[in-house]
């Protein structure tokens, strides 16, 4: 059953991703790609767990790299997405 629960999560998450994106105007494609790039920065959490359980030197080095890269993904992804979306204004807001 455990494997099936994993499959259900996989299936529902896949449909969610498809639905969330399917109604997006072209104008937001690049910011949205950047935004989804930020969201998979959640890999940082897994990297922390992996490093947190690392025992040997090799595991610690690779775990350290995992956390370093994961943090780069999350923070960099946030900064560039935020900078892009900051600029979206309508005529009214421009005054």
């Amino acid at each position: 059953m455990e494997g099936f629960i994993a499959l259900y999560i996989f299936m529902l998450a896949a449909f969610t991703g498809y639905e969330v994106i399917s109604k997006v105007p072209t104008i937001l494609h690049t910011p949205l790609m950047s935004g989804s790039n930020f969201v998979h920065g959640i890999v940082l959490v897994g990297a922390m767990v992996a490093l947190g359980h690392a025992d040997t030197m090799a595991e610690q080095i690779i775990g350290f790299i995992a956390v370093l890269l994961g943090a780069g993904n999350a923070v960099g992804g946030y900064v560039v997405t935020e900078r892009m979306l900051e600029m979206f204004k309508s005529t009214k807001e421009n005054g």
Binding site: G17, V20, V24, L28, V49, H53, V75, G76
Partner: protein, 471 residues
């Protein structure tokens, strides 16, 4: 003792609740990011989710190496923050590629740590359903996304300009891939040695590089989007390995959203994804023969073009990558404001693949201060061209080439285009007389109602502004 059990259970509950909230915030944030008015709040909500998930992970039981962990977060975060703040808007696509590569690398490194634990006899962190198999698949996908994204970054950044191809490259790639599947099977199912471990990751890195080096700059957006989806998938798979619901959901959501986005981009370019990956288009060396061209190009100077626009009722502006390269968007917006003051109805028409990525042109126009309600997509504006007095094309080429409608032998036949040729007058701002990145002659340039205004987009825009002011 009781107290201790209670606090362990409380920590477990807090962690699970926080991951649940983070997953909701990610999906809610992505949903908000899909509308221009709410997009800004979307990224902030997703950001809150990320902070919550990261902080609560410190409470995970039985962990050590906290100092290393915090140092890595600090160093990686500060470097990414600094580089993300200072990069120019035109360079955004390669930064997305770079940060995406980091994510793929991180997912692959997680898998590497898990597999090293197996190698050392400690066993996986969590013995979950098919965990070792999923770790290997995630490692393969993540490593390819890592090295592939770095090459994409190098190409767009101009570090690597050449397109590298050698005969039999596809066969070499296929053989490498078969070898990887064999090695992957050994890592997932047998008692492997460190040789197989290193060979697996080394070959996966190589495949990512070899897959990306033959692809030309024009196709890079599709490739980056594909690697973005692959990284999402790899993160999701490693989430199953670590039994971490936030990673599973966020990763898989991005994996499927990214796949759809890649399809949308490829469709807008009228190129199946398999063509992008395997045919080497976008390298400029397969310009088709095309139709016989009748007529000649007719030039116009900037002041005449300015007068035509100032007395027009309706003007549509079609920006392309040439405008971005010349950094002319600020000048163009100045010009548009002058025209609007004179009572001209001005709108911007954006082709889905204008710029380097779908939506990239919108970002550049937004940076210049153009309100998004003046900007229209292809489907919304194409019916407007027959009633338009002037279509001003700035540094765009293939996306307005009527060959896509008329010439069955053209490589771009069937690609949706902006029907600029249907406007009463067409003014083209262009650096020189050459063809676009695809190397295809543009029939629009030879039409009776088309005038060419040669020069750097920024200089021409400056002259147009002066011309409109003088009217």
């Amino acid at each position: 003792m009781d107290n201790n059990i209670f606090s362990v259970e409380l920590a477990h509950w807090l962690i699970q609740a926080s991951y649940f909230i983070a997953a909701i915030l990610f999906i809610y944030g992505l949903k908000k990011m899909s509308h221009p008015r709410t997009a800004r709040s979307g990224i902030i909500w997703a950001g809150v989710g990320m902070v919550v998930a990261t902080l609560i992970t410190y409470l995970e039981p039985a962990m050590h190496n906290y100092l290393l962990m915090t140092t890595a977060i600090g160093v990686g975060g500060i470097i990414a923050w600094w580089s993300g703040r200072r990069v120019a808007m035109t360079d955004m696509p390669q930064m997305i590629a770079l940060y995406n590569g980091m994510g793929g690398g991180s997912a692959a490194a997680i898998a590497a740590v898990e597999l090293l634990r197996v190698l050392n006899g400690a066993g996986l962190t969590h013995e979950a359903f098919a965990a070792r198999e999923l770790a290997v698949v995630g490692a393969l996908i993540g490593t390819i996304a890592f090295s592939g994204s770095l090459i994409a970054f190098a190409k767009l950044q101009g570090i690597m300009r050449k397109v590298y191809r050698f005969p039999g490259q596809q066969i070499v790639n296929a053989l490498l891939f078969v070898a990887l599947i064999g090695l992957g099977f050994m890592l997932a199912r047998t008692e492997f040695s460190s040789t197989e471990f290193y060979l697996f990751f080394g070959l996966a890195l190589l495949v990512g590089v070899l897959m990306t080096v033959p692809i030309g700059g024009a196709d890079m957006p599709v490739v980056i989007s594909l690697y973005n989806a692959l990284t999402g998938l790899a993160v999701g798979l490693e989430g199953f390995v670590l039994q971490n619901p936030a990673m599973m959901i966020a990763g898989i959501v991005v994996g499927s959203a990214g796949t759809l986005l890649t399809q949308l981009m490829a469709r807008a370019m009228n190129r199946p994804i398999s063509n992008v990956l395997f045919s080497g288009f976008g390298t400029g060396d397969d310009g088709g023969e095309g139709m016989e061209i009748s007529g000649s190009m007719k030039a116009i100077n900037a002041s005449d073009a300015a007068i035509t626009m100032a007395y027009a009722e309706k003007v549509i502006i079609i920006p392309g990558y040439g405008m971005a390269v010349a950094q002319a968007q600020h000048k163009i917006w100045e010009l548009v404001k002058l025209l609007i003051e004179k009572g001209v109805k001005v709108s911007f028409a954006i082709h889905p693949v204008a710029g380097r990525m779908p939506g990239h042109m919108n970002v550049l126009l937004a940076e210049a201060g153009v309100p998004y309600d003046l900007i229209y997509d292809l489907e919304d504006i194409n019916s407007q061209f027959p009633t338009t007095d002037v279509a001003l094309v700035i540094g765009a080429n293939d996306v307005v080439n009527p060959a896509a409608r008329k010439d069955k032998s053209s490589p771009i036949y069937g690609m949706p285009i902006l029907d600029a040729d249907k406007a009463r007058n067409v003014v083209i701002i262009k650096r020189g007389q050459g063809t676009g990145f695809s190397g295809i002659e543009n029939l629009l340039f030879f039409e009776e109602n088309t005038r060419m205004c040669y020069g750097d987009a920024q200089d021409v825009a400056q002259k147009l502004i002066a011309g409109v002011k003088a009217v």
